[in-house]
């Protein structure tokens, strides 16, 4: 007969909620008590059923390939005999470069087979980049201003934005602490998307102007003017007036209608990197 206290431990153990010494002590009891073991087996099956209630998602096929490629590089000694496929010659000489070499070789074969036209390749890459940027900007545009910072952090963590410069611009106005903006810049395509939340609308004779700070130039580069809607929000596509090498920082100033050649730094409202 398993008492209630032990049942509680068994339930917590099956859920993975027992830690440290408590867990070790319970596992020691488990090894010598067949009745307890039977209970834990059954409760673990309950946990598995609980886990299976998560919405069904399929991992991408690329993950499967990545995992299999990796295990092929880490096969235990003697395992080759059991392998039902021939081991690539490169795999018998261990080295950190091998996974990359194999991946590169596979990529080359795939590229050779599928991408016969350099023009098509360029076109596809550009389209993929554009789709990625649109996805990111749409995700940002959907985000409430309070979550914008979090969304940017998440995007920065992900590989999706490897080709983009994402800058978070904070308000420089004490009276408007909730104003925030995000700039997504694609250096390869030399264009970007700018999203602002809670920026006060301007009188009709003024514009907000976006600037890119690139160390290549002695002064900020003009990236165009914009207005916000009545709620202080806008999503605008932008391009720089000069070729950008490194978009290190972004800033927004208030300028006369149509913009200025150099920024009025005394009227800077947003800045960030």
């Amino acid at each position: 007969m398993i008492d209630e206290a032990m049942q509680e431990q068994a339930a917590a153990y099956a859920l993975g909620a027992l830690d440290g010494p408590e867990r070790q002590a319970f596992e020691a009891a488990l090894r010598v008590d067949p009745e307890l073991r039977a209970l834990v087996h059954e409760l673990s099956s309950v946990t598995e059923a609980l886990a299976g209630m998560a919405p069904a998602l399929q991992p991408s096929a690329a993950i499967r390939e990545r995992v299999l490629l990796e295990i092929d590089q880490r096969r235990p000694t003697g395992a080759a005999a059991a392998h039902n496929l021939p081991v690539p010659a490169a795999a018998v000489t261990p080295g950190p470069w091998i996974p990359w070499a194999v991946a590169a070789a596979l990529a080359l074969v795939a590229a050779g087979a599928v991408w016969q036209s350099a023009g098509l390749r360029t076109q596809l890459a550009a389209q993929a980049s554009r789709i990625n940027e649109l996805t990111i900007s749409a995700e940002l545009a959907r985000t409430e201003s309070s979550d914008l910072r979090l969304t940017v952090a998440k995007l920065r963590e992900s590989n999706r934005v490897a080709n983009f410069r994402i800058a978070l611009l904070d308000s420089l106005l004490a009276a408007a602490p909730k104003t925030i903006a995000v700039s997504v810049w694609d250096n390869e395509r030399q264009d970007g998307v700018f999203i602002v939340r809670n920026l006060s609308p301007l009188p009709s004779d003024k514009d907000y102007q976006l600037w890119i700070i690139d160390p290549k130039y002695p002064s900020p580069v003009d990236a165009g003017v914009f207005q916000v809607d009545a709620k202080g929000n806008v999503r605008a596509d932008f391009r720089a007036k000069l070729p950008i090498q490194a978009a290190n920082q972004f800033a927004v100033t208030i300028e006369r209608k149509g913009g200025a050649a150099v920024p009025n730094t005394k009227a800077m409202v947003l800045a960030g990197s």
């Binding site: 209630e4 049942q7 509680e8 339930a11 917590a12 099956a14 859920l15 993975g16 909620a17 830690d19 596992e27 488990l30 090894r31 073991r37 834990v40 087996h41 059954e42 409760l43 673990s44 099956s45 309950v46 946990t47 598995e48 059923a49 609980l50 886990a51 299976g52 209630m53 998560a54 919405p55 069904a56 998602l57 399929q58 991992p59 991408s60 993950i63 499967r64 990545r66 995992v67 299999l68 990796e70 295990i71 092929d72 880490r74 096969r75 235990p76 003697g78 395992a79 080759a80 059991a82 392998h83 039902n84 496929l85 979090l150 952090a153 998440k154 963590e157 992900s158 590989n159 999706r160």
Partner: protein, 200 residues
Amino acid sequence: MKGIAYPRAFGRNVAEPDQDAALIERIRGGERAAFVAFYDRYSPLLFSVAARVLGERKEAEDVLQEVMLVIWNKSGDYDPQLGTLSSWAVAVTRNKALDRLRARTRRLRLIEEAAVLAADSGATSYPSANEILHGRERAELLREAMQALPPDQRMAIELAFFTGLSQSDIAERLQQPLGTIKARIRRGMLRLREQLGGAL
């Protein structure tokens, strides 16, 4: 719904644990085909668990990759005395996903979201990982059994499993004595075991 009697026909194939035992032995022997079989069978379940804990696909895929490498490289860590192969794989996945979650500053926010999901899970009608793994009919039975639990028991169980909160944390969060939370988890788990007996 109380006292659901699950026909044996919905139960796990009796050969399944033996099949898993054979599978893990073959994986331990370095047999690639066995590993591929394991991957194809369990990756949707493990990926779904990781995604539920983490709230995003990219990191869930990283966790799945880590878990699969654990299965391949450390299958010796699996002790059949402590549970089934799939339970162990689920536990490894959950723990790795929670490790990542804890490492992030947004942990509290995701815990909030997970708690909301836990509270809402009875009302949603998404296809579950169980459906992929065990078929629609059995998945529906499992879902009904969960919904038949008193909400306080279901909430405590889901918070413990999907958010990694300790029983003390859950007690604090739900403003209940620790003993109450332990009792809810015990009663809920035992009740599920009873209701799902034939289906597990």
